[in-house]
């Protein structure tokens, strides 16, 4: 077993004028090579910040603490960050919005050339060859190389972004909300495509999403994130069939499924503001199963093999 990613008490924040706003508040995570991990949660839970920390796209005003390793390289050690030789070569980032992530003044061929030249110093002829190969993997032909982003549909733009990430042959792919800005019909096709590529090329894949239903079909493990912490972590079957945190259970219930008309529930309230210092369980205010002890910081309970939950009531699980 080779660990591709290992985070130990990782904290990531952003330096404001007088204070640090912590978006990721102490994450412990271990991802095996060749597996798919979905990180799921609502907007503002710190998912994208965690993805940026792994991909190496944190802004200069970010503040870090704890440790992050990718294979044998230490990327984050306290407030020291070193992504040299990692970005693009080992980790590749598939950004959130295909419509605004491609440069409207550059053809698709130029996008590939720009990426490959900056990482490997490759010339235009070789970059075109690699681009055609990467595009064929996402079922696009070479004719789109001469096109500009606005000439492509949303689904095609998303495929181009996936092909760009594949072109550098990075071992770890980080897809940030790959389905959030495309049609419901394309969602499943894009997710299937990402899953297929991960299996064929044996990549380690991190998918950031709030759509548990769509993405749970391709992942091996699921991490549920809330208020900057991972509140439940486990295998796909464990999380979907045996959720041991009320937030996980509620996320499963809010997702509508075509053809299955169950009563649609919602999660009342909103995630806590990242700037607010929380004592006790961060889900306390919204939790229908809260009891007195929940005012204290919950410990992490081991439910089964590689299935953990940070809920005081994880073992009894009254929501099941």
């Amino acid at each position: 077993m080779v660990l591709a990613i290992k985070a130990e008490n990782l904290k990531v924040g952003f330096l404001l004028e007088e204070e640090v706003l912590w978006a990721v508040k102490g994450v412990d995570l271990a991802v095996e090579e060749g597996t798919t991990l979905c990180i799921i949660g609502e907007s503002g839970c710190g998912k994208s910040t965690l993805a940026s920390a792994i991909a190496g796209t944190l802004p200069p005003y970010a503040v870090t603490s704890g440790k992050l390793r990718i294979y044998d390289r230490v990327l984050i050690n306290g407030d020291v960050r070193n992504y040299n030789g990692v970005r693009g070569r080992i980790t590749a980032y598939i950004p959130q919005n295909p419509g605004t992530s491609l440069n409207p003044f550059m053809t698709i061929e130029d996008h590939f050339y720009y990426v490959l030249k900056s990482i490997f110093g490759i010339n235009r002829k070789d970059s075109r060859r690699i681009a055609i190969e990467a595009l064929s993997r996402v079922d696009l032909d070479s004719s789109i190389l001469e096109k500009y982003p606005h000439e492509l549909s949303g689904g095609m733009q998303q495929r181009v972004l996936i092909a760009l990430a594949l072109s550098t042959n990075a071992k770890i792919l980080i897809a940030d909300e790959p389905t959030s800005s495309i049609d419901a019909y394309l969602k499943f096709q894009v997710v299937k495509l990402i899953g297929k590529l991960q299996r064929e090329l044996n990549k380690t894949l991190i998918v950031i999403t709030h759509d548990l239903v769509t993405t749970s079909t391709i992942c091996d493990d699921i991490a549920i994130m809330y208020a900057g912490r991972i509140v439940e972590l486990g295998g796909r079957e464990d999380i979907v069939l045996n959720p041991r945190h009320p937030y996980t259970k509620m996320l499963l219930e809010v997702s509508p499924i075509p053809g299955i008309r169950k009563p649609l529930k919602h999660i009342s309230g909103e995630p806590p503001n990242l700037g607010v210092e929380i004592t006790g369980c961060p889900f306390y205010e919204r939790c229908p199963y809260r009891i007195e002890i929940c005012k204290q910081e919950p410990q992490i309970w081991e439910i089964g093999e590689q299935h953990t939950s940070s809920c005081w009531r994880a073992r009894e699980a009254p929501w099941l």
């Binding site: 548990l212 979907v240 996320l251 499963l252 509508p256 649609l264 919602h266 999660i267």
Partner: protein, 269 residues
Amino acid sequence: MAVNRGKYIIELENVIAGYIVAPPKLRSIFKTKQIVLRDINFRVGTSERVAIVGRSGSGKSTLLKVILGILKPFSGRVLIHGHDIYRLPWRRRVELLRRIGYVPQDPFKSLNPVLKVKSILKEPLEACGFKGNVDEKIRLIVKLVGLPENVVDMYPEELSGGMRQRVLIARALISEPEVLILDEPTSALDVSIQAQVVNLINEIYERLKLSIITVTHDLAIAQYVADRVVVIDNGRIVEEGSLAEILNNPRSNFMKTVISSYPKLHKLE
């Protein structure tokens, strides 16, 4: 204006619509018609809930523009209560269009950031020439959509996505329309609050028995807010019926492709 209260509130007959396009710099010489909607026949009855589904670029938004009186079709008739709105004088057309309430797509971009909620809700009343007690009317509509009373003194930026969507629905309902049109009501919202908006739409339907047209690209949402689903692809209505009928027996190639791409979800039930 006297209206014929027939079986249908909105009727589209053989509508062909689209846009006039021309290459830049040659705008005045080489104008061509780009047809987006082809031969659309579409009816909405009293208290009917219809969902219009289709992928991006299929013509959903163009269809809405035609119904809302913004885009005159190249040919065909658009009837509201039996009157062809594009053949009426402007004043009479506006009177008829007031019977339609519209909720735009993105709650984060559709509210004026410098106006308080009270002013946002007052605007449509002033446009309609409302003569009654404005404050009382606003109080009732705010209550109807499940917002706290103090929301009227807030600016849009102080509200969450779900609350903004409720304000948009309140703005559409305050002039007491007969038809409510919702353009992708949940697409800009987090999955955890989508259900709030869907449940609100259904509560409003139960209370007011309006006709509701929901435009969405998500079949999962359509099944909650509509009894009849109209599928548009490439500018044509390719399928129509209840969602169960369409899912169990898709006739169009488009729906067959869509349904085949859905994952096997039995484990999640």
